[in-house]
């Protein structure tokens, strides 16, 4: 039933728990796993080249590097268990990116933690999880 699982991941505690769940499901269903990490800085300065802009591009670079590190570590962990893993590192707002990538890659399950590393604008469910459960066409497994 689950052939392709999208795991949206970052460094947060629920996301780490989600890795274990995905490993178990992937082994049981012999499924392929796609690891997704996104990074994004909202365009607050209308893209005007300024001091802020220079600073932000540096931050973005760091986020990208960090994402690469997370994806590498997680995918190595899964490869050790003989799971077929692909990684995706995409620049864009988290929720919409998760939904669109799941559709693009024909995923039949999205697994994600209920809270990521974002600001505490919503304490129980992050905006990314909220967007995903409202917009995803496929089932979503939300790990607490």
């Amino acid at each position: 039933m689950f052939n392709k699982i999208l795991l949206a991941t970052d460094d947060s505690v629920p996301a780490k728990k989600a890795i274990d769940y995905v490993q178990n499901i992937a082994i049981k269903y012999n499924a392929e796993v796609i690891l997704l990490n996104t990074y994004y800085i909202p365009d607050m300065f209308n893209g005007k080249p300024s001091e802020h802009y220079m600073y932000l591009s540096k931050v973005e670079e760091n986020m990208k590097e960090h994402g690469e590190k997370i994806l590498y570590e997680t995918s190595e962990k899964m490869k050790a268990k003989n799971i077929n893993v692909n990684t995706l590192l995409i620049k864009g707002p988290t929720g919409p990116t998760i939904v669109s990538e799941a559709e693009k890659n024909n995923c039949d399950l999205i697994v994600m933690g209920s809270r990521g590393l974002g600001n505490v604008t919503s304490i129980l469910i992050s905006s990314a999880s909220n967007y995903t459960i409202h917009h995803a066409k496929c089932p979503v497994l939300l790990i607490k």
Partner: protein, 133 residues
Amino acid sequence: MFKKILLPVDGTEHSEKTIQCVKDIAKKCNSTVVIFHSYSSNPLYTMDMEEKLRQYSFAIVDKVVAELSNDDISVKSKIMKGHAGQLIIDLAKEENCDLIVMGKHDNNEIKNFLIGSVSNFVIHNSKIPIFLV
């Protein structure tokens, strides 16, 4: 993983899809399924109406129980009266479930545009993973 699955049902079409999903997971993981249905009461309801609701609830649950036990899945069922969301959270705790499987929509057509109010309550208040079909 997924030793005991809580499956709230409401007898609608959306719920059908959820049941198929649970069947599949329960078979793969050899899990026990707790089937749950609740009905709400209102001071304006007569005894007769409430009795009918209760019977209707039993009919919904019995149908799902039969469907799942046909596939050799061990099943438990529970019917309660009250606020569905809170009852689901409490039951998950009481029964030590490790997964709740729900449809994204519930029975209420007006609130059906996005996510059902019951699912929404459970998503926000559950301590265990939730599978939204």
